[in-house]
């Protein structure tokens, strides 16, 4: 076992949207856990033992056993705590839909976002990242359609999985020099709606703070 302590622990990093997914999920399920903020510039033995393959957060520890990767953690919480409110819907197709779009958000929104701050401003690769980001947001906007939530009429797994990225919208629009509100107004309204939920409000950080963090990332790791 990676840890020896009984109970629930979450190895996390304050601004991580992947960690936030887990925080929101645990709050939605009313599960008590100990948050363990990690120093990613100086990784703890616990983190290295819990996730030796990727050495990344989030890692959820259940009586010392590690579960890695945010979407796997979300599934695990449903399966290991079946008495708590389910995150995933029960219908097979609805489950597939939720997984598909959560995966889309990871592969498109977050990946483009990373390229937006990492690549040199004004260059063609960054412009390409910007175009792809706009397209990804438009695609999500179309997927949301007239629904109140990505999952349908009620907040669900997919909303939970995507909402942490909304705290990064401000950073994306400043880096990409476009207006998120213009590109995806319904998604912006959806983000606001989700933000009214206590589990979400408690877990996300203000966009300005995220933007500040992105500035730090750009300085430290960005292409010069």
């Amino acid at each position: 076992m990676a840890g020896e302590k009984k109970g629930l622990h979450l190895l996390d990093f304050w601004v991580s949207p992947f960690g936030q997914r887990c925080r929101i999920a645990l709050a939605e399920k009313n599960l008590a856990y100990e948050p363990l903020e990690q120093d990613l510039s100086n990784k703890s033995d616990l983190l290295l033992r819990a996730n030796p393959v990727h050495k990344k957060i989030p890692v959820f520890l259940h009586d010392g056993r590690p579960i890695c990767e945010s979407l796997a953690i979300l599934h695990y919480l449903d399966e290991a705590f079946p008495e708590t409110p389910a995150l995933l819907p029960s219908d097979a197709h609805a489950r597939a839909h939720a997984r598909l779009w959560a995966d889309y958000a990871d592969r498109k929104v977050f990946e483009c976002g990373t390229r937006l701050w990492r690549l040199k401003e004004g260059g063609e690769p960054q412009a390409q990242a910007r175009r792809e980001m706009v397209e990804a947001l438009r695609t999500l906007e179309a997927e949301l359609g007239d629904k109140a939530y990505l999952a349908g009429e009620a907040f669900g797994f997919l909303d939970l999985a995507v909402v942490p990225f909304t705290a990064w919208f401000l950073a994306y629009e400043r880096l990409g020099e476009f207006s998120v509100e213009e590109v995806c107004p319904r998604l912006v309204a959806w983000a606001r709606r989700c933000g009214e939920r206590e589990s979400v409000a408690r877990s996300l950080h203000p966009p300005e703070k995220v933007y500040e963090f992105v500035g730090y990332l750009k300085n430290k790791y960005g292409d010069k």
Partner: protein
């Protein structure tokens, strides 16, 4: 998850149709899974160099194979399709294990297969010289991690990743691993040394011996011929900038590494 009557009757009623490509390991995953579960399906072969209007309608977001159509609804992405099969046909042989922790492990390693191992193998295939040497080292590092899990980790003592029988991870890793031998032949590079990776090697041998797998994976000569053609094309494009990026011809790994954006941002150590 619970079996619901709606799922069971819906499953029984509606036919299945799979859109795929004969050389696509992602397509093979779905074909194999359907066979393991004893589910009948119709199959439509797609020419990836000239995708049908129907495919583009069914998968507008990714425009790729495989796509599974069931009850009028289309589902892309092989790993998502495989999980759907378990959910929609709970009375059939399950692909995912029963235990929640084991399921989390299966999901983790499936993601590893597609996020790390697959692209690394693709990179070997698409490069030469020093770049290829670096890619080979990457593949070996990834295989070593899996070997370690088979030796003393999560999959210790098992014949298959799923246990006594094949499961999700076997299907995902297995349909793709047969390319290793093909790529070795075509590029002349050693990828899966039986001495360095004895457990992975014996797992792959046992996997490839299964009836349903033999029914699914194309004959080695066809794979070799195909791979030689793709390698030739990739090497020809390697000096042509981003020409490969607009190519609709899928490589065996569906991701021409020659067209990858510079310094893939996903790899940077910003673990947030």
């Amino acid at each position: 998850m619970e079996k619901t009557p709606e799922n069971a009757s819906q499953a029984a009623a509606a036919p299945l149709k799979l859109f795929g490509s004969w050389a696509s390991s992602y397509t093979h995953r779905v074909q194999l899974a359907l066979r393991l579960k004893g589910l009948e399906f119709a199959y439509a072969e797609e020419d990836l160099g000239n995708k049908s209007g129907e495919l583009l309608r069914l998968n507008p977001v990714y425009k790729k194979v495989p796509v599974l159509v069931h009850g009028g609804r289309a589902l892309p992405e092989s790993v998502i399709i495989l999980q759907y099969l378990d959910d929609a046909w709970p009375e059939t042989r399950p692909l995912l294990p029963a235990d929640a922790f084991d399921r989390a492990l299966a999901r983790f390693w499936c993601h590893f297969a597609d996020d790390k191992l697959g692209p690394a193998v693709g990179a070997v295939f698409a490069s030469t010289g020093e770049d290829q040497e670096a890619a080979v080292r990457q593949v070996h590092e990834n295989l070593a991690l899996i070997e370690a899990e088979l030796r003393d980790g999560a999959f210790r003592g098992r014949r298959f990743f799923g246990g006594d029988d094949v499961g999700l991870l076997d299907v995902v890793l297995g349909c793709g691993s047969y390319w290793l031998a093909v790529f070795e032949e075509v590029t002349g590079v050693r990828l899966v040394d039986a001495d360095a990776f004895p457990l992975f090697h014996s797992w792959l041998h046992d996997f490839e011996a299964l009836d349903e797998v033999r029914e699914t994976i194309p004959a080695i000569d066809r794979l070799l011929e195909y791979a030689r053609g793709v390698r030739h094309m990739l090497l020809g494009l390697a000096g042509a900038g981003d020409a490969a990026a607009s190519s609709t011809t899928a490589t065996p790994t569906e991701a021409p590494a020659a067209a990858a954006p510079p310094a893939p941002a996903a790899d940077i150590a910003v673990d947030i």
